[in-house]
Every structure is written in C-alpha cells, then in structure tokens.
C-alpha cells in the first residue's frame, strides 16, 4: 500500500462515512476509478465500518420491489437495445421530430441514430457534473498511454483538487482532454482521454459490461460532419490507444460528442453505426500535469 496524503485518507474516510457533498462524492468516485490503491483504501474503510450495519434492523421491502428488479434486469440484458428516455429533455420537441429524415440507408438505422443523437447531446451535457469532477483526476495521468499496463507505476501523486487546485501549468504543457462515456448519467463505462498536441487518444474501459459476440465501437459526432465517424473498435482490452483523431480538425475533436455503439464482432462493416449510442460524453479540458 502506498502512502497517501492525509487529505486522501480523509477523503476516503468521509466518503464511506457519507458526509461528503455531492460534488466531493463525485470526486472521490473519480479518483477510485483512476487509482486502484485509493479504491482499495476506500474498500478497507467500507469493510471496517460495514460492521456497524449489523446493528441496523432488517425491514422487509414490499413484494413489488422484486417484480421491478426482475423487469429491470430483463431489460438491461441486451445493451444494444435503445437507451432509455433521458429524464429531462430541455429542448423543443421539434428538434426530436423525425420529419426532416436524413438519407435512408441500411434499414433506417441512420435515422434512428440521428434522432437519438440529439437527445444524447443533451445527455452529454448532463454528464458534465461528473466530468467536472474528473478535473481532479487528470493530475493522476492514470490513463495516459505511457501508463499502459506493463509500464512502471509512478509514485502516487493524486491531488485532491478541493484542497489544492492543480498548480498553474507551464506554458509548454499541451492541454489534455477527458470525456466520461456513460449511459444516462450512470456509472462511467469508458474514459476517453485525448492529448491536445498529438490528438492521440486512449480509451480506458472502466464499467462497460461484456457483450458476447459483439464489439463496442467508438464514434465521433460533430455538427461539422455530415455523419458519425468511426474511431474504431474499443473495449477489447482495458486500454485502447490510437492516433485516429489526428485526421480531424482540433476544433472538431474538442467540441464533438463521443458515442459508443454495440456492433457486430469486429465492428461496423460499412462505417455506419448500427445501434443507438449506448454510452456517450463530451471532452472537457483537463489540467495539464506539471509534475513530471
């Protein structure tokens, strides 16, 4: 176990105690995703304090709870199915109307995708709260390509942004971007990071379940492009690193929505998405690290 600062220990402790506010909780969860040692520390606290629950009396939940759980897991199984309606759509209904149908190809999947897209754009902005929490994370550089499995793990240099906002970066440091790809504000499925200078990207699979016989494919969706562009199959291993974004204009890259679909094994055969996005998110600029 590596040595953590007292701030980290306190963050883990107050996380399991439950006294952090919503933003701090998001922050702690983001650090847990990026730093296994921190996650292990949280689990230790959780286990120790879990003993207190022995004292909590059991209360039977009503029967319909199980019915709903059963229905939910039956729905959840095929992840390729349409995502659930987003809880709030803060845009005029007209924007969702399929009248201005784009090109009809491939059994209408494109149309579905385009409609979904509008909603997903809204969703992506809803994800910003969590994404903002990830600002604290980039300092870790935990998902930078040089830290791919096999590379030596660096000294832990997690910074708790609350206490210690990241130091002003040197002018030489290129901006780093990060997007949390998630479903409907749920747990992050993938974390996408983009190096501002090279536009190389890395995708780390964090919460996406397995899709037997299928592949996850990453897409770039931009107002400036007529259709989603494939960035290739991801998620086959924990990390996927690729230079595929280098071909795009930096402005397109930083403003795009990134979405993941479920495709046949090996990816879409025709360069077009065949499911609605199951996870999506937008990049935010993260603090470049100056610590190395």
């Amino acid at each position: 176990m590596m040595a953590f600062s007292e701030d980290h220990i306190a963050l883990a402790a107050e996380y399991i105690l439950g006294t952090l506010d919503a933003e701090e909780r998001g922050q702690a969860e983001a650090i847990m995703l990026a730093d296994k040692d921190f996650a292990a520390m949280v689990e230790t606290w959780e286990r120790r304090f879990g003993a207190l629950n022995e004292m909590v009396g059991a209360v039977e939940p009503p029967q319909q709870v199980w019915e709903k759980i059963k229905a939910a897991i039956a729905d959840a199984e095929p992840q390729a199915s349409l995502p659930p309606e987003p809880p709030e759509i803060a845009q005029p209904a007209a924007a969702l109307r399929p009248e201005a149908a784009p090109e009809i190809r491939d059994g209408g999947n494109i149309i579905v995708f385009t409609q979904q897209l509008k909603r997903w754009r809204n969703l992506a902005s809803g994800a910003m709260a969590l994404a903002a929490a990830l600002l604290a994370l980039i300092v870790l550089q935990a998902w930078r390509p040089e830290l791919l499995p096999g590379a030596l793990r660096p000294e832990v240099r997690t910074q708790v942004a609350l206490e210690k906002p990241a130091a002003p970066s040197t002018s030489a440091a290129a901006p780093q971007y990060v997007a949390v790809l998630q479903k409907d504000g749920g747990a992050p499925a993938f974390i996408l990071t983009v190096d501002g200078a090279t536009r190389n990207f890395t995708v780390r699979k964090v919460g996406a379940g397995p899709e037997p016989g299928k592949s996850f494919e990453l897409w770039l969706i931009s107002d400036k492009l007529p259709r989603p562009r494939s960035l290739g199959v991801i998620g086959g291993t924990e990390f996927t690193a690729r230079p595929a974004l280098a071909a795009y204009d930096p402005e397109v890259v930083t403003n795009a929505t990134y979405a993941v679909t479920v495709e046949q094994a090996g990816g879409s055969p025709d360069g077009l998405p065949h499911s609605a996005p199951v996870f999506s998110g937008k990049l935010i600029e993260a603090v470049p690290s100056t610590s190395r």
């Binding site: 689990e43 629950n53 909590v56």
Partner: protein
C-alpha cells in the same frame, strides 16, 4: 440468513447470469439492505427506488465482486448505502430545510446498544469509536447510520459547519489510528 460462503457462491452464479441464484441472493439480503437505506432515506418510496437500483447494480456488478477484499454482505450493503447517500446529498442540495421533520424522527441516535451477538469486527470498531469524546462518537454514528450531511450535523450539534468538518476529519483519523489502518 445464508452463510458468507453461500452468498459468495450465489454472487459467482449471478455473475454468470443465473437468475435463480439472483432471486435467492435477493431473498437472503433484501431486508438488511432495505433496513439500511430506509434508515437513511426515511421515505418508503425513495427507499424502494434505491433498493431496486442497488440490486440492478449488484446484478450488473457481480463479476467485479472480489471475495478476497470484501464480504458479500458488506459489498451489497455498500452498493445500496452509497446509492442512498447519493440520493440524500442530491436532494439536500436542492433544499436542506425541506424536511425538518425528518430530522426530528432521526434525532435519536442509532441503537448500537441492542447488543445481540456482535462480531469481533464490530466490537473492535465500537471500541475505537468509544475512545472519542461522547459528542464525537455521536457525530460519527449519526453520520454513518442516518446519512446526515455536515449541515444537518451542524444544526443538530449547534456548531458551525466548518467545526463539524474538523471534528469529522479528526474523529476518523483517530479511529484509523486505533484500528491500525
């Protein structure tokens, strides 16, 4: 209640998509999880929602459960409790004053003294909590059992939020030292 090893076995089956095992797991654990979240949420409807979500997460996350790191019931309770805390934190941001009555109901400190058989883990933890000053003991237990925010604790203890923050932090650090973490 099933034994921990039976629960581990069930979770392993659930990870492979075994719905019958999932139903048995639910039956064995639902009342404990519901008790924990109801204590925090204090509203039947919210507690039902949270418990549903928690079991869906358990279904989806069963493969990530590591019996070497955690006990099955601790893991499952944590999933549910974390969801409950998320919900109360998000609600309290909208309006902290919304439900003063909820605080009254909860103002009695939890009842850790219904001493039945306590596990060694619990005895050890209570011993460490017991070394804190009485107010701090109460603070930690109210936070854990009732899911109270710092603001709610500040109101209860008639103390500024920043002081509560310091107390919580120091209290947890002392407990850590006592436990040898």
């Amino acid at each position: 209640m099933l034994t921990p090893s039976e629960l581990v076995w069930l979770i392993a089956a659930v990870a492979k998509g075994d719905q019958t095992a999932f139903e048995r797991l639910y039956e064995a654990t639902r009342a404990k999880l519901f008790g924990v979240v109801l204590r925090i949420l204090r509203r039947q409807d919210l507690a039902e929602e949270v418990i549903q979500e928690a079991y869906v997460r358990i279904w989806n996350g069963a493969a990530q459960f590591n019996p070497a790191l955690s006990s099955p019931i601790t893991w499952m309770v944590s999933v549910a409790r974390n969801r409950a805390i998320d919900v109360v934190r998000k609600r309290s941001e909208a309006s902290i004053e919304e439900e003063p009555s909820a605080m009254e109901v909860a103002a009695d400190s939890p009842d850790p003294l219904a001493r039945r058989e306590m596990t060694e883990d619990l005895k050890r933890l209570l011993e460490c909590i017991g070394r804190l000053e009485p107010d701090r003991q109460k603070l930690i237990l109210l936070a854990y059992y009732n899911g109270w925010s710092r603001e709610q604790l500040a109101a209860k203890f008639e103390t500024p939020v920043n002081t509560i923050k310091t107390w919580l932090r120091r209290g947890m650090m002392e407990i850590r030292e006592c436990l040898g973490l």
